[in-house]
């Protein structure tokens, strides 16, 4: 049985592998987990001993199949709990991350599956991130950012890249949510901000905002 700390390392390495195609390095993990590179080195050795990562000195790290399966399991638990917190306990989508970080470490073979059934097998969490199924299969079809998409076409928001409370509150304030339809009216060359139309009115959003919104053409 893994400790909470070991699970957090696996989860972090998994996310970093998705973002960067190369082996994940020590410094990056340290920054992400708010710890020190030396601590990371120590832990990587331990994870390598347990066959959860492939680690060679000075060459970064990569999850083994074993390690990846566990990481996906943790992500599955995290996202299901987020759905529970938002759909059943009526938390706002910007309030659930820290709680899910705790709940994802509850160890039970049956709990996740029962929770999933209770929630009616949701496919996405409140931020639009896909929920891996029981076998660990996960659909990665969120590729288009609003920032890089054609003007004057209709899109629907299917996810957020940044799910910090600050960003989600901003979206709430302009009534943008998962499922909202948006159309780009104009783009500003100077700062890459754009005017978009959504919910029958139009307003300007920053580049920082548009590049954190996943969209799908409709």
């Amino acid at each position: 049985m893994l400790t909470k700390t070991e699970e957090n390392y696996l989860k972090t390495i998994y996310s970093l592998e998705l973002l960067h195609s190369k082996n994940v390095n020590t410094t990056l993990i340290a920054k992400e987990l708010k710890t020190r590179a030396s601590s990371v080195t120590d832990m990587l050795k331990k994870l390598a001993d347990k066959d959860l990562v492939n680690y060679k000195k000075y060459q970064g790290v990569k999850l083994t199949l074993n390690g990846k399966n566990i990481a996906v399991k943790i992500i599955r638990r995290h996202r299901l709990w987020e759905v529970f917190l938002v759909n059943k306990l009526h938390y706002n989508w910007d309030q659930v991350h820290e709680l899910a970080e705790q709940l994802e470490h509850i160890k039970s073979d049956t709990l996740t599956d029962k929770l999933e059934a209770f929630l009616n097998y949701p496919e996405f969490d409140p931020h639009g991130d896909p929920i891996p199924n029981k076998d660990g299969d996960i659909t990665h079809h969120k590729n288009n950012m609003l920032s890089s998409v054609a003007i004057n076409n209709n899109y629907v928001i299917i996810g957020v890249k940044d799910s910090s409370s600050a960003f989600l509150k901003l979206l709430d304030s302009v009534n943008l949510k998962i499922g909202s339809t948006v159309k780009i009216i104009s783009k500003e060359e100077f700062d890459s901000s754009m005017v978009i139309e959504s919910n029958q009115n139009s307003f300007s959003i920053s580049h920082q905002t548009s590049k954190n919104l996943y969209v799908k053409k409709i």
Copy 2:
């Protein structure tokens, strides 16, 4: 913020205080937590430093008001999660204890209250134990054991003292549950076993069983 271990000590001391009126001693805590008396001594010093227990060398320990409030809070979380697991996720009542032991340590001021509302403010957990309210008030009205109650009267089962899986499975096997009505038909002097009537049929139960069932006269 307390560690999981500190919380477990407080919860254990609280339960032991309810059972024994005197100061709780080191050995008892050690047995309950499956650890060593010396480890308990170490922890009691730490808890005393934080003003959670009153501890004097060789004289056992007693929760402070502070410590008691926290203990009750943990018990509240534990019991609410048990209700969730049984009522919403359809676990059997003998399967929820270990899971609730994990869930009770989730730290959140709002989660417990939202969970309580979601569950419609239940008063008792699946084993008939009362759930403390938000202010920590708790009703302790489970005094009559089936073993010590009059023959030929009608009672309803309101709780179980032992909530081990083994005992609960035994109850399942004879279809006794919280809310079942029972009447003692006869008692055996030799081993204190008794024949009871419940659900339109009668059968014998051991003293070990009858002294773990809380009942109320009807």
